[in-house]
């Protein structure tokens, strides 16, 4: 291949990333992810400069500063997408409200992290954003207030991971309850997209999240035919307590992958796990300890 042909190839394949006022730890993380042979990286000191740059040039990926608020970054995203509708942007925020997170989903943010956030989780999300072959959101807000949200999510793993991160940000809960609800929601969502949606990108899971004073509730409805809890001998929930491995023989006989602990785990993480008659719709309820009201 001639030198000019190589350059042409490089030019065709080069992607552009824009990082806004990234601190040293974030910069180091990004430097490990974005191969300079593939990515051309620009830095902007603030949102105003970033908007100017993004208006002039298409960036395949943008990461906002963790020093700005969620509200400021959602506004930046809205302005960028009005001229660059396919921009893939992850919001880092130092201040955030559930309303900001909902606004970011409506404006098609790729993901959202408010302080304090897990750097490994952010790394995973940046990798997902950087590697996704094309930008097709897969998350649609049907209706939303900070207390009651309804979302449709496409049946694929990457969309599920994005949605779980958004829900972690929306859930205004104490840490132990937030972790338990997030894990239970993740298990049920993964079940729904695997067993209900069969990882088909034309299938969607219907999700509602309700935050009341004394409880939080998630409803997950998958597009599948459903099942009956009484008939799932391949799941650990059917095991007697003294024999937690019994279902493995059923799974082996049916050629199923190792597993079957999801429903049992969810049952232990939340206070109520309620299936509808068909078994394709489930409610998770977690009750919250509330300090007594002084009269």
């Amino acid at each position: 291949m001639s030198t000019s042909a190589k350059l042409d190839t490089k030019l065709q394949e080069e992607k552009k990333a824009l990082f806004i006022d990234a601190d040293p730890e974030i910069r180091a993380m990004l430097a490990n992810i974005f191969d300079p042979l593939v990515w051309s990286v620009r830095h902007a000191p603030d949102n105003k400069t970033a908007l100017t740059l993004a208006s002039a040039t298409h960036f395949d990926f943008i990461l906002t500063s963790e020093k700005t608020s969620g509200k400021q970054d959602v506004e930046l995203l809205r302005q960028i997408r009005s001229v660059r509708p396919h921009t893939r942007l992850i919001i880092l925020a130092d201040q955030s409200t559930p309303a900001d997170v909902i606004a970011s989903i409506r404006e098609h943010a790729f993901s959202y992290f408010s302080k304090p956030f897990s750097l490994p989780t952010l790394v995973d999300m940046v990798l997902t954003a950087a590697e996704a072959p094309c930008w097709d959101d897969g998350i649609e807000v049907k209706s939303a207030t900070p207390d009651w949200i309804r979302i449709l999510a496409r049946c694929d793993l990457k969309t599920a991971e994005r949605l779980i991160q958004f829900m972690r940000e929306i859930a205004d809960l104490p840490e132990p309850e937030r972790d338990a609800v997030a894990m239970a929601f993740r298990e049920i969502l993964m079940n729904a997209i695997e067993h209900g949606g069969h990882f088909r990108a034309d299938q969607y899971v219907d999700i509602s999240y309700v935050r009341a004073k004394h409880m939080v509730m998630c409803r997950v409805k998958d597009p599948g035919e459903g099942f009956t809890l009484d008939e799932i001998e391949h799941a650990a929930i059917a095991n007697p307590e003294e024999d937690p491995l019994r279902h493995f023989s059923y799974r082996a006989a049916k050629g199923l992958r190792p597993g079957g602990y999801g429903v049992l785990l969810v049952q232990k993480l939340v206070d109520e796990l309620i299936y509808n008659e068909r078994g394709n719709e489930v409610l998770l309820v977690k009750y919250l300890d509330v300090a007594p009201v002084e009269h």
Binding site: K158, F248, Y261
Partner: protein, 118 residues
């Protein structure tokens, strides 16, 4: 399981090395639906030829029910191969998940040497 082949598996890193009479597999990152098959594919072939395999979970930051399932599958395979499978350095979170699913006593048996592992 029809996993999306484009899902990166690098979020689980597996380092294997000998230690005393055992083979150690150090697991770092996430043991989840996206990555758990990588652990199974790495460890299962070791079992017939080893007397003892140690899974060091010090740097495991996340585990889900698929990860639990693979740990149990490896435990069953190890028993069949007459290999001793040990889990060491369980985080409080991993220990909690094993407890919630009634698996702790199974892995407590095989993790009895955990506190002696460097």
């Amino acid at each position: 399981m029809p996993l999306d082949s484009s899902v990166p598996v690098r979020t689980l890193t597996l380092d294997t090395f000998p230690w005393e009479d055992a083979t150690v597999v150090r697991c770092s990152g996430r043991l989840t639906v996206e990555t758990s098959q990588a652990l199974k594919m790495k460890v299962k072939p070791l079992l017939p030829d080893r007397r003892r395999v140690i899974l060091d979970l010090t740097h495991l930051v996340q585990m889900d029910s698929s990860g639990l399932g693979v740990l149990v599958a490896l435990y069953i395979s190890a028993k069949g191969a007459k290999c001793e499978l040990e889990l060491v350095n369980l985080s409080p979170r991993v220990r909690e998940l094993l407890g919630l699913t009634n698996l702790l006593r199974i892995f407590e048996d095989c993790a009895r040497n955990g506190t002696r592992f460097p």
